[in-house]
Amino acid sequence: MPHRQHSAELFRETMQKSDSENISRLSRLSGLSLSEEEKEILSEDLSRILPYMERVSELQMTDACPDPEETYVSSFREDEAYISDVSGKIRSCSQNMSDGMFTVPKTVE
């Protein structure tokens, strides 16, 4: 099916980009700053892991109609107004507080 072929081609194109490009992009998406040693290790790892995972794209699957035998249980509690002051507990989790607020580096020059 064309859809599945396209995904396999896309994956091969992705992997043909340099490992360095792929890892750099992924680490930016992940909010990580990797050392050169980590980049080398993780590039090597992902070059084996990702193709293994990608095999899933070759399965012939469809978005079938909702399965009538698969029921979803969802319980909603009744709305109940009450005072909930957990700010003290939240503040207790951080070492970086000033005047009851979290301190962060300046974001606006």
């Binding site: 992924l26 990580l32 993780l42 509690r77 951080s94």
Partner: protein, 489 residues
């Protein structure tokens, strides 16, 4: 566990004596096993004394039947379950100094049943691993052979119970992290039906599959602990109502007339060790002898179960772990110049390599180019897998197989090849993807005297069935080996 609870209630032994015995055992074993990350000896003994005083008061007033079921029993809890006022590290530098502001619902239930939480156990960082070697605080060792791993990620809990340092423990299971270490260490581990135990206070890894479960010395203890911790919780919208397991019915369960399917891909794959295969075949022969119909079952979709699991779990993990940004809690890097550096340096210094690997994998499958053909496709495959399991449970009462293709590997082996480590999860991830209950019980030893684990799976809310079968087999194994059936409680 239940034997101790009964002995405390009947004043044959005090909780303080039990706690002191456990700490005595710890002095001997813990330095080499490293099962615990936090221990509170003085506090635990004080609590034991309070329990003993309560027992005296209730007994003197003729109210011993009103005593909580686990009063005074020391248990351990995996270090990704919050306990208010105590460190919860998840085995990570990121949460090394994090003190929990509240207690997890399942731990509250444990305390409500009278149990004493004696410490928090070691684990693979954020639940990501199969050996407990990914803990920032150092690995845990196998209680029978310190050159081997106890399994993971609930390796500390498994080692604590198997090593005689706790009468029971709570672990958590996302892709097998209760069952596999139970199998490696020769104890019982239960993964309940998804949603039957609240996840409130369980630090999230893959939210659609995470669940807390008991690690115990026998099936009846596991049933009792499950009954204590289960229950719908308004603080967890994915929690569902469930029925308690009937312990008397477990004792009366028989395999006669039952239909058992052994999942062929779990047993007949290239990684299955000969001794493991023989042990499972011996169980099959025993079940047949006892009147069950046992058949091999083919399930083609299982070939992709590991890939599906790692796509979905990594995607969820990458999302769940994005909260660790150094702002409100946890580790914060020093020497940062701007907000972006705060995020990246904190996360790079706070997370270990395996966690980083999973986050990268997760962001890959969720990225716009691959979302449809990786993540969405994995969702479809998981749904198809659930449908296949439902169909099979129309024909079989139980599905079975080894809990792992191998016995406990040597320390350092799993880390050499991450992909092989992932593939070793083949036996356990199907139940996780399907949300069905599964229990691991010891069914023999290999030639090196390492425990072999048998896994029994049932339909959703089928804890009574799988624990009944587990109890039946446990008694049979005990008869055949000459050891007392369920005598470790």
């Amino acid at each position: 566990m239940r034997g101790l609870a009964e002995a405390i209630r009947s004043r044959k032994v005090t909780s303080e004596e039990a706690v002191c015995a456990v700490f005595q055992s710890m002095e001997e074993r813990e330095p080499s096993l490293h099962a615990f990350l936090s221990l509170w000896k003085e506090k635990t003994i004080e609590e034991a004394r309070r329990c003993d005083a309560l027992v005296r008061e209730f007994v003197e007033n003729g109210k011993e039947d009103e005593l909580p079921p686990l009063l005074g029993v020391p248990v351990a809890v995996k270090d990704n379950l919050l306990l208010e006022g105590e460190r919860t590290t998840c085995g990570s530098k990121m949460l090394e100094d994090f003190v929990a502001p509240y207690t997890a619902s399942c731990v509250e239930k444990l305390k409500g049943a009278g149990a004493i939480i004696l410490g928090k156990t070691n684990m693979d960082e954020f639940g990501m691993g199969t050996t407990t070697e990914n803990s920032f605080f150092g690995p845990t060792k196998h209680p029978s052979d310190p050159k081997r791993v106890p399994g993971g990620s609930s390796g500390g809990s498994a080692a604590a119970v198997a090593g005689g340092m706790a009468f029971a423990a709570l672990g958590t299971d996302t892709g097998g992290s209760v069952r596999q270490p139970a199998g490696y260490c020769g104890i019982v581990g239960l993964r309940p039906t998804y949603g039957t135990v609240s996840r409130h206070g369980l630090v999230a890894f893959a939210s659609s599959m995470d669940i807390a479960g008991p690690l115990c010395r026998d099936v009846l203890d596991a049933a009792l602990l499950y009954n204590v911790i289960r229950g719908e919780d308004t603080k967890d919208q994915t929690s569902v109502p469930s029925s308690a397991v009937d312990s008397e019915a477990l004792e009366n369960y028989t395999l006669s007339g039952k239909r058992i399917g052994i999942l062929r891909p779990l047993l007949e794959n290239e990684n299955t060790e000969e001794d493991v295969a023989q042990a499972i075949q011996a169980v099959s022969a025993l079940a047949t002898e006892k009147g069950a119909t046992v058949e091999m079952v083919d399930m083609p979709l299982l070939e992709h179960a590991v890939a599906v699991y790692y796509i979905l779990s990594s995607a969820e993990a990458s999302s769940n772990l994005s909260r660790y940004d150094g702002i409100r809690y946890g580790y914060r890097a020093e020497g940062i110049r701007n907000l972006e550096e705060l995020y990246t340096k904190t996360r790079s210094e706070g997370f270990g390599l395996e966690v980083k690997r999973r986050i990268l994998m997760g962001n890959y499958v969720l990225s716009s180019e691959h979302f449809e053909d990786c993540y969405r496709q994995a969702e479809r495959a998981a749904k198809a897998l659930r449908a296949e399991f439902r169909k099979l449970f129309g024909k079989y009462d139980l599905l079975s197989g080894p809990v792992s293709s191998t016995t406990a590997p040597r320390c350092g082996e799993a880390g050499k090849d991450p992909l092989s480590a992932y593939i070793s999860d083949l036996c356990t991830v199907p139940a996780s993807l399907a949300g069905i209950p599964a229990v691991s019980i010891p069914c023999g030893y290999d030639r090196d005297r390492l425990p072999i684990g048998l896994q029994l799976m049932g339909p959703c809310f089928g804890e009574q069935e799988i624990l009944g079968a587990a109890r039946f087999l446990e008694k049979e194994f005990s008869l055949r080996t000459g050891k007392g059936a369920g005598s470790h409680g």
